[in-house]
């Protein structure tokens, strides 16, 4: 089950690394990125996602970690906090989905897996940040194109791509 493009995005409230709760919405667009600490794909794309967040202060960008921290300790809440602190802060909150309910509701499959939500709460893009995790010059182009379209009141031309990355580490998997 996955949240399809064109359907209403699931609502949620999750704590960031300072314990502050965040939700999607109340913005011209919200970008939800399922990510984590331990995955090379997520790490390879990380700087590009940060750049997208910095370049679009009008877009609410929410990074979410949903992995089973018992089996993957690098993805614990404490390790998330450490990472943000070591980095000197991020331009987006890093949220902890301890129950994995949000990842399940979205049908997130990989880290990263990106969902762009418009002001009405509909998913308008789902997939990878860009075409190649190995090529920094891609610069999150698929996300940027989708954001530009939404902010211009248009539908993204490329509304769905295949998410690429490490599988979400489910607690029962």
């Amino acid at each position: 089950m996955s949240t399809a493009v064109g359907t209403e995005a699931p609502t949620f409230s999750l704590p960031d690394t300072d314990g502050v709760e965040h939700s999607a919405g109340d913005a011209p667009a919200t970008l939800v990125v399922f990510t984590c600490n331990h995955c090379p794909y997520a790490l390879a794309w990380h700087d590009r996602i940060l750049a997208v967040a910095r370049d679009h202060p009008d877009v609410k960008v929410l990074a979410i970690s949903s992995n089973d921290a018992a089996r993957y300790p690098a993805d614990s809440y404490e390790k998330m906090r450490e990472r943000v602190q070591v980095d000197g802060g991020w331009p987006m909150p890093y949220l902890y989905d301890e129950t994995q309910d949000v990842a399940r509701a979205y049908g997130a499959r990989t880290t990263p897996d990106c969902f762009l939500i418009d002001a009405e709460g509909r998913v308008v893009y789902r997939g990878a940040p860009d075409a190649d995790h190995e090529d920094p010059s891609q610069n999150g182009a698929w996300l940027r194109d989708a954001i530009d379209a939404v902010l211009n009141g248009e539908t993204p031309a490329n509304a769905e791509t295949t998410p690429v990355g490490c599988s979400i580490k489910w607690k029962d998997g």
Partner: protein, 112 residues
Amino acid sequence: MAQPSVELLYWEGCPSHPEALAQLREAMEELGLDGDAIEVRHVGTDERAEAEGFVGSPTIRVDGVDVQDPGDEPTALTCRIYHRRDGRISPLPDPADVRDALHNAITIRSRT
């Protein structure tokens, strides 16, 4: 030329192993080795990962030596983090590291 023992260990939860196998095969053939002689093994349980010293997928060993020293990384069913020579993080080893590992193994075997 003496053919070194080449192993590729992978976990199916990580999508990088087909590309890793293709790159490894290409590197071997560039050096005149038989690219079909790679021993490919799936690591599917935590117990197996521990027994194999498997720190993530893919893991490539040439004559038993990892193409990139895993250091003190714990064993796990996960995608492995590699550091490319230019500093980038990648799910695949740097092709130059793979070539160097193969070349070193060939050199050592040629001396014995």
